[in-house]
């Protein structure tokens, strides 16, 4: 039983990180109708920067209690790369979606070399930095407290995003733009600024996820390309453009991954894509998506 709880805890942790990246993907797709492959690169950027931050912090002897908030702050600060990248994407708004997809693919290629240039080609990891807050254990169940923090942070961010989108004025403007861009524009919404803000917010979600995951996992050049595919699966399962879908999809993918790693290691990735295909066949718009076909 407790072994099962361990697996579940691992799955939920993975789901928390996945949710953040997928939420960024959803936000950008929902409002701008662009599938942003580069969200995986934002994730990797956060991770690499997180490594640098933690090594400096431990070098300077910063209290471990500042590490976690520090990682979140660095994730947010990295969001500054959002506006210039959005400026580049602006050139293909209104063009065929294959062009938009390709441009973000080009960004993935460019980013990969930027990481290689700054942080080198070898994977970088930190020695058991996830143990800085100790381990929570009862009986056979054990979980690093750090992982718990990450899960709580993801829940808080999910709640905050929900409140922001549903309750605030700016959130209403975002949703109106997502619903009908030209009508929103006609009613006086500054769509250009909204796009820039949404893209930046999406980038921040990605970089924060990356920064938070890095104490538990290595940062590598392939992580962007691997993770964006997983986030993609989340989004397809949950439904393109739906925040609730991102949450449920992330939980499904995270748990399936955790379970299959233990029980059927061969099926790890296979299981995820079987579900993706199943969802696309029976509910093409995803579990929570509105029909776009």
């Amino acid at each position: 039983m407790s072994a099962f709880a361990n697996i579940l805890a691992g799955g939920v942790f993975h789901a928390a990180v996945l949710f953040l990246v997928a939420a960024g993907l959803q936000l950008v797709f929902g409002v701008q109708k662009i599938v942003n492959l580069a969200c995986g690169s934002f994730y990797a950027l956060g991770a690499y920067f997180g490594i640098t931050f933690i090594s400096y912090a431990s070098h300077l002897g910063v209290s471990p209690w500042l590490i976690f908030p520090g990682l979140i702050v660095s994730g947010i600060l990295l969001g500054f790369i959002g506006p210039p990248i959005e400026r580049v994407l602006r050139t293909v708004y209104g063009r065929d979606e294959s062009f938009q997809l390709l441009l973000t693919f080009a960004l993935v290629l460019i980013f990969q070399d930027v990481f290689k240039f700054i942080w080198g080609a070898n994977p970088r990891s930190l020695d058991s930095a996830y143990l800085i807050y100790g381990i929570l254990s009862t009986g056979n169940f054990s979980m690093p407290v750090y992982n718990l923090f990450v899960i709580l942070a993801a829940i808080a961010i999910a709640g905050g995003l929900g409140l922001f989108l549903q309750q605030t004025n700016y959130g209403r403007l975002l949703r109106a733009t997502a619903e009908n861009r030209s009508m929103a524009e006609a009613l006086g919404v500054d769509v250009r600024r909204i796009y820039s803000a949404v893209f930046t917010l999406g980038a921040v979600l990605g970089t924060t996820a990356g920064a938070l995951v890095v104490p538990t996992a290595a940062a590598s050049l392939d992580m962007a390309i691997e993770f964006v595919i997983e986030a993609f699966a989340v989004v397809v399962i949950g439904g393109l453009g739906s925040m609730r879908g991102a949450l449920v999809g992330a939980l499904i993918v995270g748990l399936i991954r955790a379970l299959s790693i233990v029980f059927f290691p061969e099926l790890e990735v296979l299981a995820i894509y079987l579900i993706v295909i199943g969802v696309l066949i029976f509910r093409p718009a995803g579990l929570f998506g509105r029909s776009l076909v």
Partner: protein, 322 residues
């Protein structure tokens, strides 16, 4: 008699490729083999993308089917005739593509792209994880096969690739090009273009949209398998990297680089990409970002690709002459 500029360009291109091995060093001749493989695969890919308007982001799957099919046929079953292997992978690819097409071709746009991506990744993880069947990440060996019943024992591998196999692949590319030219200029091809431009109107006119999309998908898969078999023959290995989604992205890249709205665009794209990648790789370890920047520039500034640029140039010259 009117002279078809496309036909003239194709003839000149063929002539250049025919004399190439006696002019340039063997290294570049060897480099042409992947070009032939990609060009054949892209001819098929562009039937789907350029002519039917369906962007597949998992097309590398069919390269992989060709490569692994060749590995199984020659390595496991001991078939030594490359023609037989080609026939087998074409058939196998069509058989695999049909059920996938039945599912994917119901969708268009981003959903089609995502579904093909998912199938591609499914195939990739199968190749990667089922180690005892596929060799996992180390792949499967593809032994040397004979072409047209001739073994060319006197040649070592490099001589063989730069000599007989080069002309063999060139012939394959010409055949594939002629077949595809027939396909896109037949009533079938016109149907596909109609579907691309306005699928609802096509349906009103009595076109079986779904059936035509299916056919285009299967044909493109068959071309992809031929390309994959050529690629695997050259390296002597079928490995899962050939199926990874970045490889599918690379196929799209080549098509856009050459210009997907032109029949010859994908071939030009395959050639340019192969040479460009080779040059950049020897120039800098950051060749990926160079390719990324080029891709971004094309997408932003020259959506017609190289073929589109050439077309514009030709039209501008013609106007000046008037």
């Amino acid at each position: 008699m009117t002279i078809n500029p496309a036909g003239v360009a194709a003839l000149i291109g063929t002539a250049v490729l025919l004399v190439l091995p006696s002019v340039v060093p063997p290294y570049y001749v060897g480099l042409m083999i992947p070009f032939f493989g990609y060009a054949i695969a892209l001819l098929g890919f562009n039937l789907l993308f350029g002519y039917t308007g369906l962007l597949s982001f998992g097309h590398a799957m069919f390269l992989g089917l060709g490569a692994y099919g060749a590995a199984v046929m020659s390595g496991v079953l001991g078939v030594k005739s490359f023609e037989l292997v080609l026939l087998a992978v074409m058939l196998g690819s069509a058989v695999v593509a049909l059920p996938i097409a039945l599912l994917c071709a119901r969708y268009v746009g981003i959903f089609f792209g995502m579904l093909t991506l998912a199938f591609g990744m499914l195939f990739y993880s199968f190749l990667f994880k089922f180690y005892h069947l596929t060799g996992g990440d180390s792949g499967m060996r593809v032994p040397r096969m004979n072409i047209l019943g001739l073994t060319f024992d006197r040649y070592n591998k490099i001589e063989f690739l730069a000599g007989p196999f080069y002309y063999y692949c060139l012939a394959l590319l010409i055949i594939a090009g002629l077949v595809m030219w027939r396909i896109v200029h037949s009533p079938f091809g016109l149907h596909l273009k109609t579907i691309r431009d306005n699928s609802r109107k096509a349906e009103y006119l009595g076109v079986h949209v779904h059936r035509f999309r299916l056919a285009a998908f299967v044909i493109s898969a068959v071309f992809g398998a031929v390309g994959g078999a050529i690629l695997a023959f050259r390296v002597g290995l079928a490995d899962p990297e050939l199926v990874y989604w970045t490889q599918s992205g690379q196929l799209v890249f080549m098509a856009v680089l050459g210009g997907f709205s032109n029949f010859f665009g994908p071939i030009i794209g395959a050639l340019t990409y192969t040479l460009l990648q080779d040059q950049l790789q020897s120039l800098t370890e950051y060749w990926r970002s160079m390719l990324g920047i080029i891709l971004a520039l094309i997408v932003i500034g020259f959506p017609g690709g190289i073929a589109g640029l050439a077309f514009d140039l030709q039209r501008r010259l013609a106007r000046r002459r008037q």
